[in-house]
Symmetry: C2
Subunit: 196 residues, 2 copies
């Protein structure tokens, strides 16, 4: 369920995209800069709540919320992408993951970033060309696409993968908007009944 469509941008303008792979124990984040079709790695990492007692959900969600706010303050992204999560085999785990994801979204909307949602399938297709790519394959492709000196960790790789997915989606959309612009101009000429 994609929500706010990414802002179309001209191929020459630069956008900074934050990708988030939400999790209650480990939330991955990745920040990239996009200039037209060129991608530039900025940062990535994880926000961990493993040091906190499992039962203290408010404390764990606070770490996730503050962590994402800190990443946004530090790298000033223009937009964000987050993974759509699905119901787990364990319903209790789904409920916990839902709360972690809700917290991630709260931080992003609190910082007033436009946000898009992508499934893991969409991300894998965008990164590796097919939706069945293994974790290791996503890590390898993210390393190649961003010309990283080494493999990113799996959570950071997923987050960077989501940012790249949004970069591609935005780029495709900007091309579409340009062609629509041409179409609009053409229609305009027709409506006015004369050529200029």
């Amino acid at each position: 369920m994609p929500s706010t469509p990414p802002e179309p941008s001209s191929p020459s303008s630069s956008r900074i995209i934050l990708g988030i792979d939400p999790g209650l124990q480990t939330t991955g984040f990745g920040v990239i800069e996009v200039m037209g079709a060129r991608l530039q790695y900025i940062a990535s990492g994880t926000i961990s709540t493993k040091h906190l007692p499992t039962g203290n959900l408010p404390a764990r969600l606070k770490v996730i919320f503050s962590g994402i706010c800190e990443v946004i303050d530090r790298y000033s992204p223009n937009e964000a992408a987050i993974e759509i999560v699905f119901v787990n085999i364990n319903p209790q785990a789904s409920l916990l993951l839902g709360q972690a994801r809700g917290t991630c979204i709260a931080a992003i909307v609190h910082k007033e970033l436009p946000l898009n949602e992508y499934t893991a399938l969409q991300m894998k297709k965008a990164i590796a060309g097919h939706g069945k790519a293994a974790k290791a394959q996503v890590q390898e492709m993210v390393k190649r696409l961003l010309k990283l000196p080494q493999l990113p960790g799996p959570d950071a790789a997923d987050a960077l993968g989501l940012a790249i997915t949004q970069a591609h989606a935005g780029h495709a959309l900007s091309l579409l908007m340009e062609s629509k612009g041409d179409a609009r101009r053409a229609t305009g000429m027709y409506v006015q009944g004369r050529s200029r």
Copy 2:
């Protein structure tokens, strides 16, 4: 899973408690003031996302986050109580509810309020004396306990019920701390080896 214990307070000091009944469509809130065993109604209401497209989860969570922040800014509560939600028959609904609840908790911890969690069962026991109380019974008891001129709506009643539950828990704790204080003083006298 109760987390941060409510701050113990002397029976004479006043506390303002915010109760939250989280929901993706309707989040109930209730604010009460507690002076010892006396309860005073301050405000209650709902934060609704029904006017927004179902598919736009970030926009809906933004309304919930901003709504709770606004309530906190307006009534300056010292602490908060939120309902513990359980896995629904519909797992997808659980996932959505989880995200709404995560957003509520994010707003509360963002505003640095200590937060406790209570099950509906605990709230009903505290309000109506037994865990099987119907919604209407909770509304009626909340009306009586807070001397309201009319029945609060069901979501606001649950939220007020949670705030009252925390008031009772905090009051019991403060009495416990006082008796512990006596015990500590007694121990102190023993350690010092003389009576004063």
